[in-house]
């Protein structure tokens, strides 16, 4: 165990981009957690006298059309983006892992039925499905989380299934069967732990996608509703003033870009670091 972990670190540390991604994500997480301490103003506090003020020392990232401090709003908005990403990906992992492991372990008819269901789910244009569901349920933050999670688990399911199909033939799984261990225990104790590492890599990249989808939904007015701030709806509100107050659109846009980029870099770094290890295991 130790050897594998340290090997992973050696590879991971070599990848500077991934380290940069990981540190950026940690910084963003810290900012989101301590938003109430860092933010210089209340995110809802309006001050018409200083509306649409450009970035200055008083208002780091300027103010919006109601005179609210954009920096403070973005700090609070990061909570929304990250928690949506986190919860949505957890939901998608949960469903994906369950469906994938059952399909991969039992195979045959169970596998066919579940995988055809996955195929059907993949046929829907996900974004429009989300818009429809949210239009029906009403735009609330937990609806956004559930809907993103419920429409993005198919990749994970396929992935876990593929891992399980190969793990099922491995000797240690056969040994557990010969010992008479229950299916449930074989799935959770023997197979899942050996299938999870690559799944978490894709989960990191899924985080980026989920954050992007939340921003898109909020931008279209289907996500977090104003006055609550989210990166997406700050962007929408600023859209009208894009020629007069560029800071209203530039900064939330940049925040989304940097976060998504960081998650992608981290995910790819993890995958690269994991790969030589997987290859090494394969040779044994």
């Amino acid at each position: 165990m130790l050897k594998q972990r340290s090997l992973f670190w050696i590879y991971f540390k070599k990848n500077r981009l991934a380290i940069a991604g990981a540190s950026t994500i940690s910084a963003i997480f810290l900012m989101a957690i301590f938003a109430h301490l860092i933010a210089p103003y209340d995110p809802g506090e309006t001050d018409i006298a200083t509306k649409l003020a450009p970035p200055s020392f008083k208002h780091l990232l300027g103010t919006d059309q109601l005179g609210r401090d954009v920096f403070s709003r973005m700090l609070y908005g990061s909570r929304v983006s990250l928690s949506v990403g986190f919860v949505a990906v957890s939901i998608s992992l949960f469903i994906g892992i369950i469906v994938g492991s059952i399909a991969g372990y039992y195979g045959k008819i169970v596998d066919s039925v579940l995988m055809r269901f996955v195929d059907i789910m993949m046929c829907f244009p996900a974004f429009f499905l989300m818009l429809t569901i949210i239009a029906l349920l009403g735009p609330k933050i937990h609806h956004v989380m559930i809907v993103i999670g419920a429409t993005s688990w198919m990749g994970t399911a396929r992935f876990v299934r593929a891992e399980f199909l190969s793990l099922r033939e491995r000797d240690f799984v056969q040994a557990a069967k010969v010992l008479g261990i229950s299916d449930k225990r074989i799935i959770f104790r023997h197979m899942l732990p050996n299938a999870l590492a690559p799944v978490f890599v894709t989960a990191t990249i899924d985080m980026a996608t989920a954050i992007l989808i939340e921003a898109s939904l909020s931008f279209l007015g289907f996500g977090v509703q104003p006055p609550a701030p989210s990166w997406g709806n700050i962007l929408t509100e600023g859209r009208i003033y894009i020629f007069d107050a560029w800071w209203l659109t530039l900064f939330p846009g940049l925040a989304i870009l940097i976060t998504v980029l960081s998650f992608n870099l981290l995910g790819e770094g993890l995958r690269d670091a994991l790969d030589p290890r997987l290859r090494e295991e394969g040779i044994k």
Partner: protein
């Protein structure tokens, strides 16, 4: 005399049907096991030899109920294992254990040795939580490892040591019958002898019965009471070890015997064709 039979295999068949291609081209059916009859007496070691791909491993999986047969029966202590319910089979499982060929693939890399060996004990409630550690230590000593090794992970061990762990896991559930599927062919020659001797010792002390599968006749000769020769899914000859080496009756057996390397370059062996 029939009370003495621990395991009986009757007309066992396993055919694999390759998936048809998109254009429906029919491929040949693979007859991995094609009508095998076999019996093993209590306390006996039956060697099963044959070349790679002749169906030895499929036989092992069939006997253990890991794969379903195309037809035929396997009786373990007069009970047909293919007619047992899922639960009954699970209860029977501990009596029949398997030792694998590849010591690197047969241990879960994410569990420590204690977890690996204690799992069967725990699941079948053979020991209490307290006595379990004692039992794992005992098993480790039995296979020539140290009790403190139980807190280490599989990758910290060599191939031979891993094979010992694998044996300890098989023994943990007090089996009566063990199938050893090429247990030494992945090991160094020097280690092979150690593992073989360990298996023979364990057989004596624990009253085990073995089905010993190998492609190496010399290894099988060393350990077996009787030998069954398998060729293309069929048993072509069964005889006691002495008889088989003295007086092989089937031409395939003769060919196998001549294929054994003679460890002396000056001796010329008569060549023969098959």
């Amino acid at each position: 005399m029939w009370d003495d039979i621990l395991l009986e295999v009757r007309d066992l068949k396993k055919y694999f049907y390759p998936p048809r291609g998109v254009f429906g081209g029919s491929k040949e059916v693979i007859r991995a096991v094609d009508g095998v009859d076999l019996y093993i007496r209590r306390g006996e070691t039956l060697g099963l030899v044959g070349e790679s791909g002749c169906g030895k491993t499929t036989m092992a999986k069939l006997i253990l109920g890991l794969v379903k047969p195309t037809s035929g029966d396997v009786f373990f202590e007069q009970r047909n294992i293919f007619k047992l319910g899922k639960r009954e089979l699970r209860r029977l499982r501990p009596s029949m254990q398997l030792i694998f060929q590849d010591p690197y693939g047969s241990l879960n890399p994410r569990m420590n040795v204690k977890g690996i060996i204690a799992e069967g004990l725990r699941f079948h409630k053979l020991e209490t939580r307290k006595s379990e550690e004692q039992r794992v230590a005992e098993l480790l000593e039995m296979v020539g490892l140290k009790p403190k090794d139980m807190y280490r992970y599989p990758h910290e061990f060599s191939g031979g040591q891993r094979q010992r762990i694998s044996i300890a896991r098989a023994l943990s559930v007090n089996p009566k019958f063990i199938i050893a599927d090429e247990p030494v062919s992945a090991l160094d020659v020097s280690i092979q002898a150690q593992i073989l001797n360990l298996l023979m010792e364990l057989k004596e002390t624990l009253n085990l019965t073995y089905l010993f599968i190998s492609h190496d006749l010399m290894v099988v000769k060393h350990i077996s009471d009787r030998i069954a020769v398998m060729h293309r899914g069929k048993i072509v000859e069964t005889a006691t070890t002495w008889e088989l080496f003295q007086n092989p009756s089937h031409p395939y057996t003769k060919m196998l015997l001549t294929a054994i390397p003679i460890p002396d370059p000056d001796i010329q062996r008569p060549t023969m064709s098959f």
